[in-house]
């Protein structure tokens, strides 16, 4: 798997792309942390008042990251859909398949490289969000004592893993869109339109759908399923189910379709 991984990394590890995305992610994470801390004394998106006491709890340090988890997911979806889609439109996929005709292994290498990329981005976001939270908290009267405790560290770990898993889930939708549409523009736009407006609309009109629609489930999972109508374990299980199905469909198409681009 390493040659395929390293080959794909030539593309996604190029400085312009890598550091450009990294900078955007860091900015988003910082924004999330700062706005979360500044929202003390106001109401959040759902109208629940945000208090300094609530943010001072052990899981308060990750609130900023969770607040922007959907943006990290969107980034993961867009990047994977664009990278996979452009291999088709640039015609670079046929060169790669001539060099390495094991299609499934090639796809697996690409997915691993993309997953590593998403993991690096989410890790950077976590670090920036945590650092910014610590930096801003004193200014807004939020105590960071519980954050420093071992319970705080556990919450950081849990929050990180939840957001990472949710982002990888979005990335899986991106891979599927890239393989199905074979063009970055179509894959990104259809993938995003599905994950955001479409799923949100459906789940708003008929709320039980939120416990079955994949992107809604990933958002639920990113927030640790706190305050959702589905348990953490059930959300995780359903996400795995969807991701497995997406991987099977993407692999099947990638393996058997003609390469005519």
């Amino acid at each position: 798997m390493t040659p395929m991984f390293r080959a794909e990394w030539v593309k996604i590890g190029r400085p312009r792309f890598f550091f450009g995305t990294l900078a955007a992610i860091a900015a988003v994470a910082a924004l999330g942390a700062v706005l979360t801390m500044l929202s003390v004394g106001h109401s959040d998106y759902d109208g629940v008042p945000v208090t300094a006491t609530a943010l001072a709890a052990a899981d308060g340090v990750m609130q900023g990251l969770e607040a922007v988890s959907i943006l990290l997911g969107v980034m993961a979806l867009a990047v994977t859909a664009a990278v996979i889609g452009s291999d088709f439109t640039h015609g670079t996929l046929r060169n790669q398949l001539i060099a390495y005709p094991h299609r499934l292994r090639l796809l697996a290498g690409k997915c691993l490289a993309l997953a590593a990329f998403v993991a690096v981005m989410v890790t950077a976001a976590m670090a920036v969000a945590a650092a910014m939270s610590f930096a801003i908290a004193p200014a807004t009267g939020v105590s960071t004592a519980a954050w420093h405790s071992s319970a705080g560290l556990v919450e950081i770990g849990k929050g990180y893993l939840n957001v990472l898993m949710a982002s990888l889930g979005y990335a899986t939708i991106g891979v599927l869109a890239g393989v199905v549409f074979r063009s970055p523009a179509a894959a990104v736009s259809v993938g995003l339109a599905y994950a955001l407006p479409l799923e949100m609309l459906v789940s708003r009109i008929w709320s039980p759908a939120a416990t079955w629609l994949p992107a809604r489930l990933m958002d639920t999972f990113a927030a640790g399923a706190h305050g959702y109508h589905i348990t953490y374990a059930a959300a995780g299980g359903r996400i795995l189910l969807f991701c497995a199905a997406a991987v099977v469909v993407a692999a099947g198409l990638f393996r058997h379709r003609d390469i005519t681009s």
Binding site: P3, M4, R6, A7, E8, V10, K11, R14, R16, F17, S86, H90, G91, T92, R94, N95, Q96, L97, I98, A99, Y100, P101, H102, L106, D258, I259, T260
Partner: protein, 364 residues
């Protein structure tokens, strides 16, 4: 091995698989590319129609056909990118259905050079080299072979068309292939670029590499190829060594007497000497004889003895294209118009002739 060993069931399975394999036709040992009834259908149209290919190992073979003939489709099938809808194909002895068996020894560029525009030429090659488990030294070597070293670290999107083509060829050369497949490698190149590619291909074929190069112009590949495969609307028209084709060559000498009145007499005279003379066309004042250039001096002497002075004596050697059409009985008028047979349109086999752009208009 004793009778109780539990190895029996798998052995039976292996045997039945081998059985299935013997149903496949076997390619001859000397064939780098071989196919039988290779077909690709899109909807109701057959883009490649029951083609039997035989490209011998070590050949520098030209794959010629007009636009839309099915060249790229055939090459894609040979590279395992698309599946044939019928027939069998073999590359380096392996069926096209399992490209992993041979692609490590094949280099190819299909439908022009396609690379990641945001990566440098070198990074693009490095990506492919890593897939083939080759190191950056090999990338540097191939860049050097195609003369791109000085521009290797520029982004691909900034390359000129010629540089893009050369990068495409470099990618095909990466594995040091036994078989090199190039789809119209001279597309968009200027005459100097075309000459460069030609001499590169000649060098490569000299190094015992089999080269299969497609073109929509016979005139473009006939100068370097020793083997030809010609297709049209998905059908195979001709395949074989260029020498086979040249055996059917029909050179002509065109004699123009000083006085138009001597034309008839000259034609009769030459016929009396056992030469094949074309019936003179009413509008022309010259006589066309089927004979090689070597007898030109003799014909001149014959005319002089009979008191006929020649104003012009032109040797006319047909192009491979015309020879091919004669050989296959395919002179159906639409491929080569008669005007092509005028001596000024045709010079020797190895010299430049009709501008390349003229031919596509004729074909179709």
């Amino acid at each position: 091995m004793t009778a109780e060993t539990p190895a029996r069931p798998p052995r039976v399975r292996t045997k039945s698989r081998r059985q299935a394999r013997t149903d496949l036709p076997q390619p001859p040992a000397d064939a780098a590319i071989w196919s039988q009834g290779l077909t690709r259908q899109y909807g109701t149209r057959r883009s490649v129609d029951r083609i039997n290919l035989h490209v011998p190992t070590g050949a520098l073979s030209g794959f010629v056909g007009p636009n839309g003939a099915g060249k790229t489709t055939t090459l894609r099938m040979l590279l395992g990118l698309i599946r044939p809808t019928g027939g069998h194909g073999f590359v380096l002895g392996h069926p096209v259905g399992s490209p992993a068996g041979y692609l490590s020894r094949v280099g190819a560029m299909i439908e022009g050079p396609t690379f990641h525009p945001g990566l440098t030429g070198r990074a693009n090659l490095l990506l492919l080299a890593r897939l083939r488990r080759l190191g950056p030294e090999r990338v540097a070597e191939t860049l050097d072979t195609v003369g791109l070293t000085s521009r290797a670290d520029d982004r691909f999107s900034l390359y000129s068309l010629g540089m893009k083509q050369r990068l495409g060829i470099a990618a095909a050369l990466l594995p040091g292939p036994e078989l090199l497949i190039l789809d119209e490698p001279t597309n968009g190149l200027d005459p100097a670029g075309i000459r460069e590619i030609r001499s590169l291909l000649k060098d490569l074929a000299g190094a015992r590499m089999t080269v299969f190069v497609s073109s929509h112009l016979l005139s473009e590949v006939e100068q370097i190829c020793d083997h030809l495969v010609m297709i049209r609307t998905g059908r195979l028209l001709f395949q074989g060594h260029v020498t086979d084709l040249l055996a059917a060559e029909d050179p002509r000498l065109v004699l123009t007497p000083e006085h138009a009145g001597d034309t008839e007499r000259l034609a009769a005279l030459l016929r009396d000497h056992g030469l094949r003379v074309d019936p003179p066309e009413p509008s022309t004042e010259s006589v066309s004889v089927h004979a090689p250039e070597a007898v030109a001096a003799n014909l001149n002497k014959i005319a002089m003895k009979a008191g006929i002075t020649l104003r012009a004596l032109t040797a006319y050697r047909p192009t491979l294209e015309e020879t091919f059409l004669v050989a296959t009985g395919g002179v159906d008028g639409d491929l080569i118009p008669r005007s092509r047979s005028s001596p000024d349109a045709s010079v020797g086999f190895h010299s430049p002739r009709v501008p390349a752009q003229d031919i596509p208009g004729r074909v179709s």
